[in-house]
C-alpha cells in the first residue's frame, strides 16, 4: 500500500444545499410538480373525452359566469410579480426583500382563495347535475387544493422568515416555494379557459 492516497476534498463546497437543479430540494419539488401535472393532464383529457359523449355542451345547463374567475385569473397573473421578486431576493439571500415579497405573495394567495370561494356559485351547476358538472367541479377543486396548499406553505414560510434566524436553507425553501407557485399559476391559465370558455366554444 502506498504511503499516500488520492483524495477528493469536498470541504470547500457549499454545505447547505443549493438553489435550483444543483440542489436536492428542487428535484423533490419538480418530481411532485410532474406528478400533479400528469393528474391535471388526465383530468383535462377526461373533460374533452366526456364532451365527445354528448350532443350539446354544457348538457342542459347554463354556461358558467366568467366574472369572478376572470378577476381571479388577473390577480393570479399579478402575483407573478411578487413571486419573481421573492425568488430573486431569496437567491440573492436578501433578507428584507425576501420578507417583503413572500409576505405580499401570501396576501395575494389568500385573496385568490377567497375569490375562489365565489367561483363555485358562478359555475351555475352542482357537481351531481351531470357528468359535465362533475368534471367542471373537479377541475376547479383540483386547482383549489393546490392553491390552498401553497398558500399555507407560503404562510408558514412567512412565519419562519420573520421569526427565526435566516439560514441559507430557508432562502432555498423560499425559492422552491416560488417555483411551485409558478407551476400553480401556469396551470390556472388552461384550467380557467376550459372551465369558463370551453362551454362557450365547444
Amino acid at each position: 500500500m502506498s504511503a499516500q492516497r488520492r483524495v477528493l476534498d469536498v470541504s470547500m463546497l457549499p454545505d447547505t444545499g443549493d438553489f435550483g437543479h444543483r440542489g436536492l430540494v428542487w428535484w423533490g419539488t419538480v418530481g411532485f410538480m410532474v406528478i400533479e401535472g400528469s393528474m391535471f393532464v388526465m383530468v383535462l383529457i377526461v373533460y374533452f373525452y366526456l364532451r365527445l359523449k354528448v350532443a350539446e355542451w354544457p348538457p342542459s345547463l347554463p354556461n358558467p359566469d366568467v366574472g369572478v374567475g376572470t378577476v381571479n385569473l388577473l390577480l393570479v397573473l399579478v402575483s407573478l410579480i411578487p413571486n419573481a421578486l421573492a425568488k430573486k431576493a431569496a437567491e440573492e439571500q436578501q433578507l428584507s426583500r425576501t420578507r417583503l415579497w413572500i409576505a405580499v405573495l401570501t396576501c395575494i394567495g389568500v385573496a385568490n382563495v377567497i375569490l375562489r370561494a365565489f367561483e363555485y356559485p358562478a359555475l351555475n351547476c352542482r357537481w351531481d347535475d351531470n357528468a359535465y358538472a362533475s368534471i367542471t367541479w373537479l377541475l376547479l377543486s383540483l386547482h383549489t387544493i393546490h392553491i390552498v396548499t401553497d398558500v399555507v406553505d407560503s404562510a408558514v414560510l412567512v412565519v419562519l422568515v420573520f421569526t427565526s434566524p435566516m439560514t441559507r436553507r430557508r432562502f432555498i425553501d423560499v425559492s422552491e416555494n416560488s417555483l411551485y407557485w409558478y407551476f400553480i399559476v401556469a396551470w390556472w391559465v388552461p384550467i380557467y379557459l376550459v372551465v369558463y370558455w370551453a362551454p362557450r366554444w365547444l
Binding site: Q4, R5, D18, G20, A131, A133, T167
Partner: protein, 656 residues
Amino acid sequence: MPTEGPRARPVERLERPLDENAETRLHRELERTWYVPRGVVGWLSVVDHRTVGKRYIATAFGFFIFAGILAALMRIQLAVPDNHFLGPDLYNQIFTTHGTMMMFLFAVPVMEALGVYLVPLMVGARNIAFPRLNAYSYYLFLFGGLMLTTTMLVNSAPDAGWFSYVPLAGPDYTPGKRSDFWAQMITFTEVSALAVAVELVATIFKCRAPGMTLNRLPLFVWSMLVTSFMVIFSMPAVVTSSTFLLLDRLVGTHFYNPAEGGDALLWQHLFWFFGHPEVYIIFVPALGIISSIITTFTQRPVFGYTALAMSVVTTGFLGFAVWVHHMFATGLPQLGLSYFTAASIVISIPTGVQIFCWIASLWRGRPRYPAPMLFVLGFFAIFIVGGLSGVTLASIPFDLQVHDTYYVVAHFHYVLIGGAVFPLIGGIYYWFPKMTGRMTDDALGKLNFWVLFVGFNLTFFPMHILGFQGMPRRIYTYPSEMGWGTLNLLASGGAVLLVVGGVLFVYNVVRSYVAGEVAADNPWNADTLEWGTASPPPVYNFLHIPIVEGRNALWDRSVDAPVVTGIRSDCREVLITEVLDAAPSNKTEFPGPSIWPFLASVVTTAFFIGSIFTPWALPVSVIPIAVTLIGWFWPKSPEKDAPGARKSTELREARA
C-alpha cells in the same frame, strides 16, 4: 442563477490514509451521527433506508403470503367440479383480494422496496433522498394494506375483480362499501409508490458517488430509474380513475354514469393507461435483478451494457402505448385497435434484445449456478413462454376467442411469476448475505427452486388448455359435464407444490437469518458498490464515500482507490453530485429520525378511511394533517438546521 461569485470546486490531492485509530474514531462518530433510534417511539421514528427498506420488503412478503393463501383456497375450490367449499360471494371476494393484493400490495411495493434498500448502497450514498418521506410512504403502504386485509377477514372485501370495472363496481351494482375500500386502497398505495419514485429519482440523479457517471450506472439502478419514471407518469391515471369512482359512489357525481353524460369505458381507459405500465413497473426491476445476478455469476462485465440500459428505457416508453390491448373486446374502432396490436408486438423487441444480451453473457462467461442463478434460468424458461403467449394475445381475432378465459390467466401468471417473482426470489437469495450478514442454505435454495419451478408449470400450464376449452376466469365452480375436471385437478396438485416451495423459502430465510453461516462482505465477488461495505452495512453505509473508476465499480477499483474527504461526520451531511457526470456539486444535511412522518401517516389514514364513509372527513382532517406536516418540516433549531452555514461562508471569504 444565484450570485455567489465563482463556484467552489472540490480539490484533488494526495493524503496519508487515516491510521487504524483515526478510522475507529471516524467509525464511532459516524455511528453516533447516523444512529438508528431504539424504543417504541424510536422504532416509529426510523428514517434510514436499510431499516425502512427491510420493513417494506417484509411487509410486502406478508401480503404475498396472505394473497397466496387466498390463491390456495381458490385452487381447493376449483380442484373438482360442482364443489361447494367456497360460496360464490366469498369466491368473488377472494379472487378480487388475491389479485389486488398481489399487484398493489406485493409486486409493485416489493420492487420499490428493493430499490429503497439497494439503490443508495449501489450509488454510494449514506441514505435515500427525502428519508422522512420514505418513512411516511412505508406507513401509508402498511395501513392501506392492513385495511384491505381487514375487509377480507370480516367478509366485506371488494368483489368486482382487481381492475374493478364500472358499472359493476359503481353505485348501482355494488351498494355497500366494498368498492370504496378497493378505491381507497388505491389511494394509499399510489401515494406511497409515487413518493418512493420521487425519492429514487432524486437519489439516482443527485446522490451518486463521484465518478459514477450515468454510463457507469449499475443496470439495477437503471431499471429502478425507469421504473420510477413509469410510476410517476402512470399512477396519476389510476389515482384519477379511483377518485372518480369514489366520488360517483360517495357524493353522486356522474363520471361513469352514461345516463348523465358519463362513460363506463372511461374507467377502462384510465385504469389500463396505468395498468399496462404497471406490468412493466413490476417487470423492469426484475430485469435489473437478472443483470446483477448474471454479471456476478459469470464474473464478467455483462454483454451489451448500453443495449441493455437502452432496452429498459425503450420498454419504459413503449409500456405507455399498449393499454388498449386490454380492451380489444370492447368494440372500439378497428383502425385504432390495429395500432395497439402493432405496439404490443413491438414491445417484445427490447425484451428480446435483453434476453439475447444475457444469453451472450452466459455464453462467453464461465457461469456458476448457485440458487440465485437457477432462479434466473427459471425466469428464461417461464417468461419466454409468457412472452410468446403475450404475442399471440396481441392478435385481435385470437384475443377475442380467449378473452376472459383461463388462457389469459395462464399468460399473466407466466409473465408476472416468471418475469418478476422468480427473479425476485433469486434476488432475495442473492442479496440476503448483504442485508443480514448471513448466507442462506444453497442446497435448500436449489431444492426451493425446483419445487417452485415444477409446481408453477403444473399449476399454470394446464390453464392454457383450459382456456382453449372455454373455461372462463372468475367462475366459482363448473359442472362436471364440461370436462375441465382433470386439468383443474392437475393445476391444484401443482398448487400444493407451490405452497411447499413457499414454505421452503420462508424456512430457508428464517433459519438462515437466525443461524446461517456468517457472510463475508462480498461473498459472491460481485461488482457493485453495495458489496464494498460490511455485511450487513453499517448505519452510515460507507466509512469513506468511494470514487467510482469504472462501470463495474468494485472490479475496476485500483489498489489505492481514491475516496472523498471533507464531509462532516458530526452531522448527517451528504454529498450532492451533478446529474450526468456525478461531479461533486454541494453538500446538504439529511434530516434525522422523527416521529412526525408516522403521525402524519396516521392522520392521513384516518382521512382516507373516513372519506369512505362521509365527505366530512375532508374538512375534519385538514387541520390535523396540516399540523403534522408543519411539525414534520419545522426546523428544530436554527443551529441544527444549518450548522455549517457560518463556517462555510467564512471559509469562502478566507479563500477570497
